[in-house]
Assembly symmetry: C2
Amino acid sequence: MAEALRVGIAGLGTVGASVARVLKSKSEELTRQCGREIVITAVSARDRSRDRGVDVSGVEWFDDPVALAQNADIDIFVELIGGDEGAARACVRAALEAGRHVVTANKALLAKHGLALAEIAEKKGVLLNYEAAVAGGIPVIKTLRESLAGNTVTRVFGILNGTCNYILTRMEAEGISFEECLKDAQRLGYAEADPTFDIEGHDTAHKLAILTSLAFGTKIAAGDIYMEGISNISQADIRAAEELGYRIKLLGVAQRTDSGIEQRVHPTMVPTASVIAQVHGVTNAVAIETDILGELLLSGPGAGGNATASAVVGDIADIAKSRPGFQHGPVFGRPAKELRPYKKAQIRSHAGGYFIRLTVHDRIGAFAAIARRMADNDISLESIVQRADASNDASQKTVILVTHETTESAVRKAVDGVTKDGHLVDKPQVIRIERAE
Amino acid sequence: MAEALRVGIAGLGTVGASVARVLKSKSEELTRQCGREIVITAVSARDRSRDRGVDVSGVEWFDDPVALAQNADIDIFVELIGGDEGAARACVRAALEAGRHVVTANKALLAKHGLALAEIAEKKGVLLNYEAAVAGGIPVIKTLRESLAGNTVTRVFGILNGTCNYILTRMEAEGISFEECLKDAQRLGYAEADPTFDIEGHDTAHKLAILTSLAFGTKIAAGDIYMEGISNISQADIRAAEELGYRIKLLGVAQRTDSGIEQRVHPTMVPTASVIAQVHGVTNAVAIETDILGELLLSGPGAGGNATASAVVGDIADIAKSRPGFQHGPVFGRPAKELRPYKKAQIRSHAGGYFIRLTVHDRIGAFAAIARRMADNDISLESIVQRADASNDASQKTVILVTHETTESAVRKAVDGVTKDGHLVDKPQVIRIERAE
């Protein structure tokens, strides 16, 4: 049997401890699968004394993860510290420069510095594996990087943030407000004390940036992503969606269009009968559309120590199965130097259906004015509902429009027009509709 | 750049022609991904003159696929002939013996001879890749073989036959009979002239046998699989399922239980709100449950030239990325010699919920007798519905029972008892209920 593969782990938080436990408890099975033993030989963590449910007493300890990356006797460096700068960036860089394979779960780091790190990995002929960075335990990186060779991806979209999906699922199931759901999610540990990063779409955007690069062979550009969070989704939206045969999900969507590559994160209406609409709670899902295969959907646990550890261990096992002399496939599917800059499609040129919910003063001519603004902007309507407002205020009405395919630009002009007409009681609500099977 | 990878394709039917087209049309992109060119250098097919929409005029032709496997100047042998014996078996064997990597889409061959072929591949140090053999373009083999390293699978189940799912979907959507749906499926090319292989579950069983081996590290044993087809599913079952919050799907299920490994193919009720219940038409889906990750679901096109070609090309690309010196992972996840025989769980020991639909003579005491038989066999009932029979025959009633978890053995005894009591007008219908998220 080949020599044991020596693993160094930097970061022994929830995920790190879970990775260590799996490597230890499944050692025999992993050896059988990989043809060699996988052994943790070095770790780096802040607190040596903490009980992590796994015995790491026999391994070399480093206070400095960079020292671990550079000096430890290891074949693979596993980065589970987190953060897009500081220690995480420094130690991943140092490990790659030292010719160690790297496995990381760090989406923020890859979204920001993935390209530069991939260049080092490819120059050094080592692997940089990051299955856990996007959608936790769902093998979407491997699918895009390996399984779909030969396919040209046309669209990739998904539910990439468990916190948002948990909140939207409970809002729909229990009829409670966003604020109430968020509080509960915080109490249950599904949302951070400062939930901005999750609920405003930043976390989804990081993951989407990585998927876009893999899917389209383009340079990672997280800054190009159009972003809207879920904090202004109300029960009125959820109920209206339900009646119209839709469900609201926070999606990250990357799509090849005539005007370039669209990358957007926003609340989205998906048909209730679609597979992705059934993805509830903290579960994640990614759909991939290609020219040859058609549409593929993967769903599963997107976060949590064990789900993330599962992906990290899969990445480690892949390296264990390789041997010196193996020419590894490129980090983002194509060599980092060949990842293309791309034309960014502006959100204004986005084409699709729209849901528009307006609260209007109940007076003669309001509805006609709305209809006129839509027609003036060439917006054709699939359905129009006018009814008593949920507020029970007789002086106002709710108007809900669902458009056929039109452009963001036309919708914005029309809605601005309606606002200028002075018929609106409240800010208009506009939610994009996404095709899904 | 490394030398080009030379591919020989045996079989240029729908899938073979599609593979050839993809390799040619995506040549540049594949080269970028794999770091070397992939070139078709030899083919074998019955008819040299047929137009397959791809130019194979420059490559070497072999009338005999075994000669291609043995003599052609190739690195990879792609078997797309089909069938579990004859030419397919002979040429795959010959290619492996000659030290060529093999890619195949042949589920029947693997279900029957996979173990013997894996032993040759592992002895020769070459790869035997077969992503296309199960669930077409869905990367379930790669997921089980690579991504889930370290996970212990507890259950794997799925919709593995597009023909059956197409028929069940249309029966539900249009209220038409099994026979009518089957005729339509045959007319549209979704079902064979002799549909037995699909509708009686044989095709699903072949695929399940491969998944079981990968999931549990056991020897392939297609003959052990309990099998029931969909031909006796009626509108009455579909409607009753709908009312109870279920949908009927033909599932292949392999599960680790206290009494051994269960492998079964049968019509199954899954909760309407589960993700797998939304998998419609010819689409396939596979759910994998493990101790670490939890539940993963993959869905997508399970058949057709392009979906199958996508998986075959992915397998070829994986080999193209490897280099001499690379120690390939074992064919079924563990070395073929270490795949374990296993204790087969008998279907009578299956534990789960059951749907039981009885058509009874409308007379005093019938219902009481049924309830008594259930109680005598310790079957606790979740719901009981008695109502007028759909036949509008006032002399008979329909009784629908949904049980809490019980055993197959108890249900069979109870139903036999009811039959003996003489209250039944018709054969009882029993459908297993499967947990699904």
